[in-house]
Symmetry: C3
Subunit: 361 residues, 3 copies
C-alpha cells in the first residue's frame, strides 16, 4: 500500500518494535500505527485470502478473551466467528454482568469502588488466554483525559499476551482495517491520489471520533487526498490532526484539506465517508451536544445530489447508520453504497489480524 521505501517520520508512525517498548505484551494492535507498513500489507493480503475461502486452523488450541466495557454487535460477532473459523475459542465477557471496573492508576491505595487493579486482571487473564481484545468505556467527562486511552494502554502494559483495541476513545483500528480492505477491493491496492471526503453527519446519539480518527490517518498514510468537512465546533482531536497534517505533507500524491460543507468536500471525490461524531467542545455534555445537532442537521444529510458531485463517488459508513438522518435510503440501498461490503470485511480482516498476531506463537 505504501511503498516500502517511503520516508517515514518515526515520531509519527512508530515502528512496530518501538511502540512496544513500554509494554510487557507482545505485538498487539492499540492503534493502526502499531502495524508497520509491511505488517499492515500482510494483514490485508491475509484478509483477501481468508475472504477468498482459505481456511486454516491457526488458532487451534488457543483462546482469545473478549472484554467489552461497552456493547458491540459487528465487532463482537465478527470476532467470535473469526476465532471459531480459525479453530480457536473466544471467551466473551461484558462489564457489569461478568466482571467489574478496574483501577488503572499505579501506586494508589485502592479504597475506592474498583476492587481490582488492571495490573492483576491483565496478568491473570494472560495466563488463561492467548490474546485479549478490549473495548474500554471512556469516562465521558473530559476529552483531555479520555484521549489518552489510559485504560487500554494499562492493559497492554500489564498483559503478557497481545492486546487488541476493539475501539477506544481515540481510535478504532479494526474498523480501519476493514475500510482499507474495502478501498483496495474497489480501487486497487494503490490508493495514492484517490480523493476521499470525510463528512460529518447528524445524530441525536453521536459516536465518539474514534472511527474518523482512524480512517483519516489510514487514508493519509495510504497517500489519499482527504477533504474533511464538519460544522464549526466539531473539530477532531488536535493530536490526531497534527499527525494527519504531517502525513498529508509527506505524501506527494496525497494531502489534507478542510471544506466548509459536505457538498464542498464531496466535489470530485471518489469516496464519501460519512459518520456522525460528537462535538469535543461539548464532550460530556450530551444535552448541549444534542441541541446543537438539531440545528445542523438539515445541511449534512448525504443524499443522491451530494453523491453526484463526486467522481462516480462511492459511499462508505462504518455503521450503525441512522437512515434518512445521516444518509438517505436511496443512497444506502443503491449501487454507490459500500457499507455492507465494509461490514462484511470485518470478518476477514479480523481473521487476518488474529492470524498475523497469533500464528507464530
Amino acid at each position: 500500500m505504501i511503498p516500502p521505501s517511503s520516508p517515514q517520520d518515526p515520531s509519527i508512525i512508530a515502528p512496530f518494535s518501538g511502540a512496544q517498548t513500554a509494554s510487557n505484551s507482545p505485538a498487539g494492535l492499540i492503534r493502526l500505527n502499531d502495524l508497520s507498513d509491511s505488517r499492515l500489507s500482510d494483514v490485508l493480503d491475509l484478509s483477501d485470502r481468508f475472504k477468498a475461502g482459505v481456511r486454516r486452523p491457526e488458532l487451534a488450541g488457543k483462546s482469545v478473551g473478549f472484554l467489552f466495557f461497552r456493547g458491540s454487535l459487528r465487532t463482537r460477532t465478527a470476532f467470535e466467528v473469526a476465532v471459531h473459523q480459525l479453530g480457536g475459542q473466544g471467551v466473551h465477557m461484558s462489564a457489569g454482568s461478568d466482571f467489574w471496573e478496574v483501577e488503572a492508576r499505579d501506586g494508589v491505595v485502592m479504597d475506592g469502588t474498583a476492587p481490582e487493579h488492571v495490573r492483576d486482571a491483565a496478568a491473570v487473564m494472560s495466563t488463561y488466554c492467548d490474546a485479549l481484545a478490549i473495548r474500554p468505556r471512556p469516562a465521558g467527562n473530559a476529552w483531555a483525559v479520555d484521549r489518552r486511552d489510559e485504560g487500554i494502554h494499562a492493559w497492554a502494559r500489564h498483559a503478557s499476551v497481545p492486546i487488541i483495541n476493539m475501539e477506544s476513545a481515540l481510535g478504532h483500528p479494526l474498523q480501519a482495517l476493514a475500510d482499507l480492505m474495502t478501498l483496495r477491493e474497489t480501487f486497487g491496492k494503490d490508493l495514492a491520489g484517490k480523493r476521499i471526503a470525510i463528512v460529518w453527519t447528524p445524530s441525536p446519539t453521536p459516536a465518539g471520533p474514534s472511527v474518523v480518527h482512524s480512517m483519516l490517518l489510514a487514508a493519509l498514510r495510504s497517500g489519499m487526498q482527504v477533504s474533511l468537512a464538519h460544522p464549526r465546533g466539531y473539530e477532531l482531536d488536535e493530536g490526531v490532526m497534527s499527525e494527519a497534517r504531517a502525513l498529508g505533507a509527506e505524501h506527494p500524491s496525497g494531502g489534507l484539506e478542510h471544506a466548509n460543507t459536505a457538498r464542498d468536500a464531496a466535489k470530485d471525490a471518489h469516496v464519501v465517508y460519512a459518520r456522525s461524531w460528537m462535538s469535543l467542545e461539548n464532550y460530556g455534555n450530551s444535552t448541549r451536544a444534542a441541541s446543537r445537532v438539531a440545528t445542523e442537521r438539515r445541511d449534512w444529510l448525504v443524499d443522491e445530489s451530494m453523491m453526484q458531485l463526486g467522481k462516480e463517488a462511492r459511499l462508505m459508513h462504518p455503521m450503525p447508520i441512522r437512515r434518512n438522518l445521516e444518509v438517505t435510503d436511496s443512497v444506502l440501498d443503491g449501487p454507490r453504497s459500500l457499507v455492507y461490503q465494509q461490514a462484511a470485511n470485518r470478518l476477514p480482516t479480523q481473521k487476518g489480524l488474529l492470524s498475523l498476531l497469533l500464528r507464530g506463537q
Copy 2:
C-alpha cells in the same frame, strides 16, 4: 403425520415456498406452517435419529447467531448444545448488554432512540452467520400490534440467511416441535383422533399465548381432537382461532371444541396440556391481569382428580411451571407427567431443525 394426500387450504397452511416470497431469507421457521407436511415429518424423523444417538457434523464450519431480546433458559441451552453437537458454533447475544434495539419501520427519518435499522443489522449479521435465531420482545402495549410479529418478520425480510423464531408474540414453533415429538413417542406417529385438553392455568406472571397458539394448531393439523378450556376473558387470538376452526373442520378424525372448565375438557382426554397465559383483554395491563388471576385460581389447578377424568391421561406443560398453583407436585412428579420428556426433546428437535435448514447449504 398428516397423510401427504390430505387436502389443505393454502390460505391456512401456506406451502413452504409461498411463505417465503416476501422474504430475502431462505427457508427459516417463523411459524410452524413454514414447514410443509413432508418437511415437518423430516424434522421429526431426524429428531428421533438424533435422540437415538446419531452424531453428524452437519454444521461444521457454520455459525448460528442467537439474538435474545428476552431471556431464555431451555431454548438457549438446548440450541447452544445442539449447534455444538452438530459441529458448529453458536454466538449468543442479549439485548441491552450486547446490542441495542433496532428500528423496523421502512422509510422513516431515524431521529428517535433506535440507532440502527433492522435492515442493516440483518444484512450485516447475515454476512457473519449461517442462520439467525431470534427471540423478539413484544412491546406489550397493544395485542393488535404485537400479534403482527413485525420484529421477526422484518428480520426475515432483510436477512439473507434462515431466520428461526425462538418465540414471538404469536407463536413458539420450537416448543411445538418438541411437543409433537413427545406426542409421537407416546402415542405413535399417527395422532389422528387422539384427544388433547388444552387448559389454562393461573400464574401471577403469566406468559403470552404463543405456546398455546402453536400447540393448538399443531394438534389440529395432526388430526387430534382438541378441547380448549379457559376462564372467560382469556380467549386466544382471533386470527389463530379462525385458522384453528378451519383446521378442525378439515380433519374427519379431529376437531375443536370449547369446554367451560378444565374438568370438562379433561374428560376422556389422552393428554392434558396445561399452560398459563395472560388475558389478551388485559394485555399490557399487568395489574388488572394479576387481580383477575387471583379470583380464578382455585378451579384451574391441575391435580390428580382432574387427571383421572381422562383416559389414562398424560400431563404436558412447556415449562416453567409454578408448582401447586398450576399443577400439583404429585401429578408433576408422578407417572402421568411428560414434562421432562418435552423439555428433553427440545435438544433433538432443535438439532433436527438446524440439520434440515443448514445441511444442504
Copy 3:
C-alpha cells in the same frame, strides 16, 4: 497429601460416597470434603500433568453449563478455557439476562416471584448438559440462613449430572484446589508441619468468608499448622471452626491457633495467606460493616516488615486484591508473591477436576 492411613472422623470429613446419598446427582464438588483423600490427590496429580502440557480430549462431545447468579472473572474464564482445552463445550449463563431466580423450597404453592422450581430447572438442564457448575447468590440477610448453602444443595439434590460449586456462602472448593496445588509446587507434596498464617485484610467491599473457610480446612486437612488472625468481630462460621478444631487435633504435625494480630500470626510462618472478609456480626448490614473496616485498616496492611517476621515467608491471596490497602505493591510485585501462580493454577486444577468427574462417564 494426607497419608491414606490417617484416622478420620467421618462426621467431619464425610467419605465421598456417603456425601452423595441425599442427592440424585453423581459425584460433584460442593465442598472440598466431597473429595476423599485419594480423589483429592488424583485431582492434584492430574492438574500437575495438565500444567505440564498434557492435552487430552476427555470432554469431547460433552457440554458443561455454567450458571452464574453472581459475576466472576477468574473462575469463569479458567473454566471456559479448561472445557475447551479438554475438547468440550461450555455454556455460560448469567442470572438476570439469561435466566431467572428459582424456588428452592419443596411443596410450596409457587405464587411468589420465582417462576420456576430448582427441581425442574435442575432436571431439565441435566438433560442438556453433562455437568453443571453453579455460583449461587447468597441472600445476604442472615448468615444463619445463608450458611446452609441451600441453593446449591437443592441443585445437587435434583440434578442428574455432577454439580460443581463455583463459590457459595460457605466455601470455595475450586480456589482451595488451586491453592493446594500452589502450596505443593512451593513446598512439595507433603505439607505436614508447614506453618500458614491466615490473616484478615481490610476492604470497603469485603468478600464473604467462603475462600478462607475452604483454605482453613484444606490446610488443616493437609496437616499444616494454621495461625488465624482477624479483628474482634470477624470470627469465622462456628460450624467451620468446629470442623477446623477437630481437624487440628487430629494431625500430630498440624494444629490451629489464634493470634491477636496479623504480625503475631506471621511470626515464623512459611506462608501468609491474606484475604478480606466481612464481619458475620454485621452480615447483611453493609453500612455498619464498612464503618468498622475504616477503623481497623491501619494495622492489617500486609507489608514487607510483616512478611519478614516469617520464615522466608511467601504471600498468598485469592484475588481480587485491593493494592496498598490489603497488601503493598512491593510485596505483591516482589519475589515473595505467589498470587499469580495461584491464579494461574485455577486453569489446570479446574481441568483436573472436570477430567476426574467426567472422563469415566
